[in-house]
């Protein structure tokens, strides 16, 4: 599973990255987590607002810090 966290590096993005990392650890899913900070690269996903979470190419959440339960449910689907 490939998880991307889109955000230029603001505190909210850091918090999102932390929540995702915790969710991955707690569910035990095999996943690579990558941070995408380039503004053009973020725009390439068509995302209007950061932080955003992309899992296997699907945009899961835009413009807010996701809840850990939500991240877990995306991971286990």
């Amino acid at each position: 599973m490939e998880i991307k966290i889109l955000g230029p590096g603001c505190p909210k993005c850091e918090q999102t990255a932390k929540i995702v990392a915790e969710a991955v650890a707690e569910t035990g899913v095999q996943a690579t987590v990558e941070k995408v900070t380039g503004v053009m690269e973020i725009a390439g996903y068509g995302v209007f607002g950061t932080p955003a979470v992309v899992i296997d190419g699907d945009v899961k959440c835009v413009g807010k810090i996701p809840k850990k339960e939500d991240v877990k449910s995306w991971l286990t689907q």
Binding site: P8, K12, A43, G46, V47, G49, C61, V62, G63
Partner: protein, 390 residues
């Protein structure tokens, strides 16, 4: 932070401590001014102005639906609507400056095109609630109002000019799926949300209500006399609204967002006030930079002074809100009102690091034109303001 950076900072601090002639009367005076200015902010502005403004910013970030605004930036959106929304949406979208650039890139590459994108890029950092409140409270309501109006008008003109100049380029825009922030169903009506935010704005207005002139009569002294009564009444109303309309989780995320802004902005502002106080002093008190330099460069309302202020503002990096204490110091040291507005209009929207990112998104040529438009318009606006409002 890299270890080498830490070392460099330490070395710089050591050299400053070692070589700066701290015993020299001018340096002593400047150091004193830095802390006197800090005290002025702590006493006059933090409790009645900044704290309420942070709560408002937090509420906007959490409760105002970004999705409802962003849909006007899609590729099929009505152009007139896109421009209008772009020029004012900074108030609700850009409380955090880190959201501006990704959103700009998104609107530019996937959405409504270069016009609305640059309009948003300009207005975003210039008209957020915190910036306008601080400007109006500390530098006077005239400058605050001129800044708000100037930012909105500039945003529309800049956007239109950019889309006319680069008309052909705009044709090759590609569509594609766009994702806007999810819209949550909150169970509140728009009316309830508006009343809630309006109550907080009123608290800010009354808590920060300035003492009217001693000879003033009628309404203003009456409001001033009753301001704490009104403020307490509004606070009780706010408490009732929170209990009746909002869930515990919502209140918690509101507090978290507010606290996030405070953590982000207070340290910057603290440093900004200290530096501004050290270099420029409070109004009427000299500090490190002699006042006659400022008066020669930025005094009066000449074309040169306005242009210099615009260019300096465009290249200089102002951390969120620090433009206010710096400008306060400059005004106190003899800067003209016109150049002050020019700097406010060109400053927060542009900076050297910012230009580099914008250049990466839309290319060097468009970035240069964008910056030139803003510098020229800021200069003109400064001259008009300096001539007619003194």
């Amino acid at each position: 932070m890299k270890e080498t950076t830490k070392l460099l900072i330490l070395v710089a601090l050591f050299l400053m401590a070692y070589f700066i002639p701290w015993g020299h009367p001018v340096i002593r005076q400047s150091g004193l001014e830095a802390f006197l200015m800090l005290q002025e902010y702590a006493r006059e502005h933090v409790l009645t102005c900044l704290i309420p403004a942070f709560f408002i910013a937090g509420a906007i970030a959490v409760f105002v639906s970004q999705a409802s605004v962003l849909k006007y930036f899609g590729i099929q959106a009505n152009k007139i609507l896109s421009y209008s929304v772009a020029s004012v949406s900074g108030t609700i979208l850009a409380v955090c400056s880190c959201t501006v650039l990704p959103l700009f890139a998104g609107i530019y590459t996937r959405g409504a095109g270069i016009g609305p994108a640059t309009a948003f890029l300009y207005s975003g950092p210039a008209i957020n609630v915190l910036a306008i409140t601080m400007t109006a409270k500390i530098l006077g309501w005239q400058l605050g109002l001129a800044r708000a109006i100037g930012a909105i008008v500039f945003a529309v003109i800049t956007g239109l000019l950019m889309s006319v100049i680069f008309r052909k380029d705009d044709m090759a825009r590609t569509g594609g799926q766009i994702y806007v922030p999810d819209e949550d169903d909150t169970g509140r009506t728009l009316f309830q949300d508006s009343i809630y935010i309006l109550t907080m704005v009123l608290i800010l207005v009354f808590a920060a209500f300035a003492k009217p002139a001693p000879d003033a009569e009628g309404l203003w002294p009456a409001i001033f006399a009753a301001k704490w009564g009104i403020t307490i009444f509004l606070l009780i109303a706010l408490g009732w609204m929170l209990k009746a309309w909002f869930t515990k989780d919502e209140c918690k995320s509101w507090i978290e967002a507010t606290w996030g802004f405070m953590k982000q902005i207070f340290p910057l502002l603290f440093a900004g006030v200290i530096v501004a106080g050290f270099l420029l002093g409070r109004p009427g008190h000299p500090a490190l930079i002699p006042e006659h330099y400022i008066q020669t460069l930025l005094g009066g309302n000449s074309l040169w002074a306005n242009l210099f202020a615009s260019v300096a503002g465009a290249f200089m990096y102002f951390a969120t809100l620090t433009e206010v204490p710096i400008l306060q110091g400059l005004l106190g040291a003899g800067m003209g009102k016109g150049p002050a507005l020019a700097l406010l209009l060109a400053g927060p929207a542009l900076s050297l690091p910012n230009m580099l990112v914008i250049g990466g998104v839309m290319g060097v040529k468009k970035t240069a034109v964008f910056c030139a438009i803003i510098i020229v318009m800021s200069t003109i606006a400064g001259m008009i303001y300096g001539t007619f409002v003194v």
